[in-house]
């Protein structure tokens, strides 16, 4: 009931929390070593180089995010609820996991000095997220729950930027609640102005 994670997974878990805290240059093999009680050399056995470790980590993160977003679309029929619970997911993360952060948002800032194998994977996650948001907004327009000023793809970029910027602000001000305030208001702007909702849901 306690630990079932393999060593490599534990390494990735620790590395992820360290990256979230301080970025690519903000952690070392020694840090991971100390955190999980294993020698540095053993980590190199699992992940020969740092670039490879982070590349695998970002790949895993992207897949997890992809799966999470997919399940949100399956779990909630209404696009506005899908957006809402995506927002709530991050609100919870940021509040509970003491100032959490999206790994890829963190790495995006360091893009210019990231190994290419990492940078390309960060880009892939941004693509995925943008596409997911676009299709949710698109569906919302078709169901008449959203009223957009721009094309869904553009509004998706705006929303994604808000999410990442809000994470940054929450950190800068040391105020986890700020994230929720910003994103909720941003989502509210997308909602079509009062109308007897078409479907029976809600």
């Amino acid at each position: 009931m306690k630990s079932k994670a393999s060593t490599s997974e534990k390494i990735l878990d620790v590395a992820q929390s360290l990256i979230v805290a301080g970025g690519y240059n903000g952690f070392s093999y020694a840090d991971i070593s100390a955190a999980i009680g294993i020698r540095k050399a053993s980590i190199h056995h699992h992940f020969p180089t740092k670039a490879e470790l982070v590349a695998v980590l970002v790949d895993r993160y992207r897949r997890q995010a992809e799966a999470g977003l997919k399940s949100l679309r399956e779990q909630f029929s209404s696009p506005s609820e899908q957006l809402q619970s995506y927002s709530e997911f991050w609100q919870t993360c940021i509040r509970d996991a003491s100032q959490s952060f999206c790994v890829c948002a963190m790495l995006a800032g360091e893009m210019q000095m990231l190994p290419e194998e990492v940078a390309s994977r960060v880009r892939a996650h941004f693509d995925n997220l943008a596409n997911w948001l676009t299709s949710v907004l698109q569906a919302g327009v078709e169901q008449d729950v959203f009223r957009l000023n721009k094309r869904p793809a553009d509004e998706a970029q705006m929303l994604m930027a808000s999410v990442h910027g809000a994470m940054l602000s929450a950190r800068a001000f040391g105020d986890p609640a700020l994230f929720g305030t910003i994103i909720s208001a941003q989502i509210a702007k997308l909602l079509a102005p009062e109308r007897s909702r078409t479907a029976g849901a809600r």
Copy 2:
């Protein structure tokens, strides 16, 4: 007609461009040393510790930003033009200075592992910017050019988050133009929907 900057200013200039590229842990005294042709030890003469260097740097950045924002309010009478040219400033930076970035947005991501003397100064800049945006939006509401859904302070936070998030997206996608797309659309959402403007201006 060439160089009038003192050594310490050159150090700060180089350090700033290095931080923008890779954050606090992404540069070293050796990097600065190589860039301006001076020995490492000489940099320690001007700035004994790295924390002090960055603290001074962020202070300078905050003052410059403060002055720039103030002059925008003096140069343009219309709040929407003030916002517009603030946006254009960053568009130019990001396009010309090959993927530039706000120093404080960069450091905000690393907040958790920044020396306190740096962190507090980053917070100060975020406060300044939020206050400036709030007062511009406030003025816009009074002049009937902006129609806000939330209190000006909240809308200011939303706008600030969009700006920082858009910088992140521009980097992640390697597309400088994306910044302008996102911010212009965000500003457009604030404008009051068509109305014979009260003042003669514009």
